[in-house]
Symmetry: D3
Subunit: 238 residues, 6 copies
């Protein structure tokens, strides 16, 4: 099984980081291809970056047709709906994958993400998926995305502090880490706080394996109907 894991920002070191997390989660027969677009923002923090990464993200899907499922490895599930119009392979966002699993492990979960500016986009997604009813709160740790790539930052400490508050203030029974760059921290933080801590990258890889394993296909009726050929050609120039 081939899973295409797209980091929609252009920071190659983060793509590597995400690729390694994806491989660690994948089953033995699964091949992970981790890529990022050539053009677009270096990190995705809020609505503007999201919008500016879409053309590159969709072009990346278009250029990589030989896969069984696609993972969008940005926690705001960048371009998820548009991507589902472009391929009938399952397309899974790392945010949504983590939310769905968390809702099957706990009565209520909280999210700990990076910056305050990213919070409304995540709340928006949760409401759209219906899972806002299961999310106690989306918390920001005030750790910037690329700070997570820097050795010696106190990112882990800030994130851990927010997890502590999620338990005491939100009565969260599980915590979702709200950034692809936090992939390596989950196991350790779970042990520290004694509750499930979910990382979206590994969640999405397993969700993709599950869906591709059943040969599931995105619906072609209604909102995910494929664009007419002329529009595709116009968009991608071939």
């Amino acid at each position: 099984m081939n899973i295409l894991v797209i980091n929609p920002n252009t920071t190659a070191s983060m793509t590597d980081h995400i690729g390694r997390a994806a491989e660690a989660a994948a089953a033995s027969g699964t091949k992970i291809t981790a890529v990022n677009p050539a053009h677009g923002p270096v990190s995705i923090e809020g609505y503007f970056d999201e919008a500016m990464s879409l053309a590159g993200l969709l072009d990346t899907i278009r250029r990589n047709p030989d896969c069984d499922a696609v993972v969008i490895a940005c926690f705001d599930d960048t371009g998820l709906d548009a991507a589902r119009c472009l391929t009938d392979k399952p397309v899974i966002g790392i945010g949504e994958a983590a939310y769905h699993f968390a809702s099957m492990l706990s009565n209520k979960f909280s999210v700990v993400t990076t910056l305050a500016r990213s919070v409304p986009a995540l709340e928006h997604n949760l409401s759209r998926y219906g899972l806002d009813a299961r999310c106690a709160r989306v918390r920001s740790s005030e750790v910037a995305v690329l700070e997570l790539e820097q050795p010696g930052s106190n990112a882990r400490q800030k994130i851990s502090a927010e997890i502590g508050l999620a338990v005491t203030e939100d009565r969260a029974e599980a915590v979702v880490l709200g950034c692809a760059g936090m992939a390596g921290l989950a196991a350790d933080l779970a042990a520290e706080h004694g509750l499930p801590v979910l990382d979206g990258v590994s969640c999405a890889v397993k969700m993709a394996e599950a869906m591709a394993g059943l040969n599931m296909r995105t619906s072609r009726l209604g909102g995910y109907a494929p664009p007419p050929a002329g529009k595709l050609k116009h968009a991608f120039g071939n």
Copy 2:
């Protein structure tokens, strides 16, 4: 990986049917153990049957500790919350698994279940999971659970007719089959109607593999805290 698949009713032929569907969905390294309680209702159709099957269901979980995940193979996700108190292994209901996947393949899905008396319990679950926002309608086909086991019944025909209405009246983009006994019909009905048709048993097996594959554990904080040892002993007599 070992997955315990529990049919909470006592009809052994249905357990076999479910077991075969589970095996067909399972990865090569997954061992399926399909069981049913010794005592309880012969089919689960509505709130009363659900309640009367719980003691047997929970006892079955208790007697089968050597598994990596538990699937509850009744579409009303019988006893899901109580089961999650009893083990920290992932416990997945076939209803919830299908709803979660359907919400990642379509903007809106409908459910086609058995009898009208079962509809409110499913609506209740959807609302509890937050996924009522994504479900267009729960439809009954007026096919009794055990009728699905009878060769020569017109069950398939009635179910297909409701799927047709789900597309035209509900504008559903995908359909979930609302009974473990419908497991064999999904692929064929999907081809007939040209949209994703999901069977809960295979969905739940893949969801269980995914969660166990990441070594996920049900939260022990809050609502799923394990009962005190004295209560367990009192409940199960050992």
Copy 3:
């Protein structure tokens, strides 16, 4: 008028306590029969206890047909839906009765219950009844159910402290006591805090009198349709 009041746990002293509270609330012509099942958990604290008490609870209803209404005297409204399939007499949970009355006495109320593990089940019920929109918060006092039966415990003090917080933090205009065992405390706490404090047992008895007084019957259409005779016989052995 005869009202069957069922304590679904097996602690007889608590059944007596509940019976006395029910009698204190009942009209002069109302006969209260307070009973508990022979088998099942000694207290109901969360999803597991709830599930394990259902067979005993339903059997108790079956064995006591000569009543005009049934009260389920556990605050999580154990088995309410299943019980409504078993009899067309009104069946009222003490939780729901208190929530309905509180929503007619205040714009917003809070609940003060026993342990944190019981909170999600109550939140689940409130959402199912539609009354989550009127409930500011479900608070746990960390008083175990049976602690309420012990003279000399500081249970009252802990509950009073939570009521204080419900007023200042939740802006609750009324408080519902979230355990049958708190029945005796309501009047005193209401006087202390200057707002309505509702006890579910007395609420449910009056609701039962009201409904039976109008000769109301639970609907037999849809989700509360009675189980077929064969299933009843199989369940109860006669």
Copy 4:
């Protein structure tokens, strides 16, 4: 026990009709005082009539302090919130009483009211009470309020037709009659259609008896805080 039943319109024949329905529902020790304001609209059909009846309604409450509970006998629960500021006795609307009972007898109910213009006000109330989640649909029968008072109208027939549609189209398990003037029709229509049919007047009388029987008081905190004495004097001139 004394219950003040206020018909907020000025049609005396309707007040008599309501008074008789209230007496039929009342317990033997309950005294019903059915009154209507001297001034205001002759019937309440929609938002404008509602608004124009408020001063008369509130003045009527003010002039009748010797009661144990107040029933507002118009199905749109005219002035309910304002009335609760004016007295700490329980104040119950006939709409809300019927909705609360219906939600304890069925999974889902529909309402059959008079004119289309009244529907949004009832939908608004249901949403405010939280019970819109339990109401399948508010239907209008296109029977004007005062037509219900006319012998020989085909009002009953139109209402019955809508109940039929509530069962087949809305899958309602119970029906609430949405006008005080329909009080006499409930039993007969219930028998005809084989499901609970609730009349708000009798529901509200029993709810009032229940609440007064427990000596319940409307909260004086927050939204129902009593107006300052100066404002009361200014409003009522004494």
Copy 5:
């Protein structure tokens, strides 16, 4: 263009204050007529005052037919639905106007109003408009309406403190001032706190200009259907 701005309380100094705020907001070609009823409460703080002001408010609309739009200048949008039955000119409440604008300037806003007793009515409105999803919290500053008219009160200071809490505790991105009497404070408080602070009076005037400028008319179908002529005559005596 002529806009009728109605202060539904009878305090003339407040009508002047509101009129000046309306004129400051109005376009050059807009004529503002600020009026108040002859009879009714001196201030509107909660449900009772609201109810007692309705007859005067509606009569005022009736007596001023020569306008292109009506603004109801009390923050609880007193009588909005009834007013829309009485005229097909656009009728805009100052609360709703501010909420609609705030939801187009921010992801989430908070409201800072006067007394705690007014909060539930505002929450009720927000839920009715659908905009509760966008409102983080309705806060009371414990400033009485008429205190805002008194020079030397510390009203501004209390309001500013609540705005500070709205930012830090509610994560509000904008704030709506919840009283017509706060009209003059918005610009200054916006500058102080660095976020949009909206005043309902100016919002409603601009909304009225916009709607009248497009010649919009309130729907005459359904809930806002005009009352029959007989009822109008009966209500207003001519």
Copy 6:
């Protein structure tokens, strides 16, 4: 006042059409600048087109800083959140403007849009704005966007038929036309069907005038915080 009206697709004739509709709605002192991006899809019908138009749309905003407000003239409110990060001038979508006005003219409205594939994106927006509670249904007329530009198509007829169904089936009290290309049809259809029919382009122009007239600014806190200068430079190359 200068209002920048952006048609986010690249069809110049449609931009002209939209520009004329905007000018017809604008006040005498308002200057309309109607533009479209140089690159992107020729029409926006669903999620894919939306995504592919974003870079062009945002670049267009960036290149036109001399305006007092921005209108996004595509009914799915393409890129609204991202645009609000890019400028603190009010940014108004034609969909949202029409929904907000419709909710102040009616208790419930329906939307009549172009193709079925566009419906979920509109439903998603309505839910995000909170106005799904006020929208009875989003209907598709199966008229493609560019068909609206073709003389002799039967587009008007199909749209009119859906409006008829919105009244009879949805009980809608107003109708919103769900495409910028329908701008010219509103007045005529309103007269034909006897209810308010709203066109988004004129609604958004008036909303923009209103907001700019009050010198409103989009919040810079939280989700609409402006991107760092480095990201802007990287995105737009200057």
